[in-house]
Symmetry: C2
Subunit: 162 residues, 2 copies
C-alpha cells in the first residue's frame, strides 16, 4: 500500500510535468518573438526543440508504467508563464526586456529542475530504473539550459542593458 | 536611460519577490501542519523563521534604493502554493504526502533561487554592491534549504514511503 502511494505521487507529478512541458512548448515561440538579442532568440528556439524531445521521454515513462500519456493542470507553470508575459507587456523591446525574459525563463528551468529532481529520486526509490534514467537525462538538459541562460545574461544581455 | 531600465527591472522583480516571501511566510504553517514527519515539520518551522529574516533583508534593499517596501502580485508563487495545497488535499496524512510536500517546497525554493540569482546578477551589474550582498546571503540560504530538503527526502521520507 505504502509503495503504491509513492508510486501514485510519482504518477501525479509525471502528469503535472507533462502538462507543464506541453505548455512550455507552446509558450517558447512567444518568448522568442519577444526577445531582441539574436543569441537569446536562438536559445529559446533550441530549447523548444529540446522540449519536444523531453515530452517524448515523458511519454516513454508513461509507457514503462503501463499508462497513457495524460496531463493534469499545473498551476505553477501557468503562473510562471504569466510572469514572462508581464515582462513582455511592461518592458518595451530591448535589453532590459531581454534580461527579464531570461530571468523568467530561468524560473521555469528551476521549476523543472525541482520537478525532475523529485521524479528521479522517487523512481530510484521505487526501483524504476528505466524511468529514472529518462528523468536524469532531462534533468541534465534543464541544468545545462539554466547555465547557458546565466552565461547569456551575465556575458551579453546584462552589460548591454546597464 | 538604459541603466534606468535594468534598474526598473530589478525593482519590479524585488517587488515580486517581496510579495512571494510574504506569501511563503503565511503558507509555511499550513505545510508544517500537513506534514507528518517530525523532522519535516521542524524544517518548515525553521524555514518560516528564516523567511522572516529574508523579508527584512528585502526591506533593507528597498531602503538602499530609496523606496518603500511594496509587493506586486507574483503569479508564480500563487501557482506553486496551489500545488502544495493539492498534495495535502489529494494524499492522506503519511509518508507519500510528506514526500509530495517536500517536492512542492523544493519547487518554491528553486523559484527563489532563480529570482535571487537574477537579482544578484543585476545588482552586481548596476554596481549596487550592498543590495548584491543581501541578495547573495538569501540565495545561499535558499540553496541550503533545498539541499536539506533533498537529504530529508532521500534519507528519511522516501524510504519510509516506499
Amino acid at each position: 500500500m505504502a509503495e503504491q502511494s509513492l508510486k501514485s505521487l510519482m504518477v501525479h507529478t509525471l502528469k503535472d510535468v507533462y502538462y507543464a512541458e506541453n505548455a512550455i512548448l507552446k509558450h517558447l515561440p512567444q518568448l522568442s518573438k519577444a526577445a531582441g538579442d539574436k543569441a537569446l532568440k536562438e536559445a529559446f528556439d533550441a530549447h523548444a526543440k529540446e522540449t519536444g524531445v523531453q515530452i517524448k521521454r515523458l511519454e516513454s515513462v508513461f509507457e514503462i508504467l503501463g499508462l497513457k500519456p495524460e496531463g493534469v493542470k499545473c498551476h505553477a507553470i501557468e503562473g510562471l508563464a504569466k510572469e514572462a508575459d508581464e515582462i513582455a507587456a511592461e518592458f518595451p523591446a530591448g535589453d532590459a526586456r531581454d534580461a527579464g525574459l531570461i530571468a523568467a525563463a530561468q524560473a521555469v528551468e528551476h521549476y523543472e529542475i525541482a520537478r525532475y529532481g523529485a521524479l528521479l529520486a522517487w523512481a530510484q526509490q521505487l526501483g524504476e530504473d528505466d524511468a529514472a534514467g529518462l528523468f536524469a537525462e532531462t534533468l541534465a538538459e534543464e541544468e545545462a539550459t539554466d547555465e547557458l541562460l546565466s552565461e547569456l545574461a551575465e556575458d551579453v544581455v546584462n552589460p548591454k542593458a546597464a
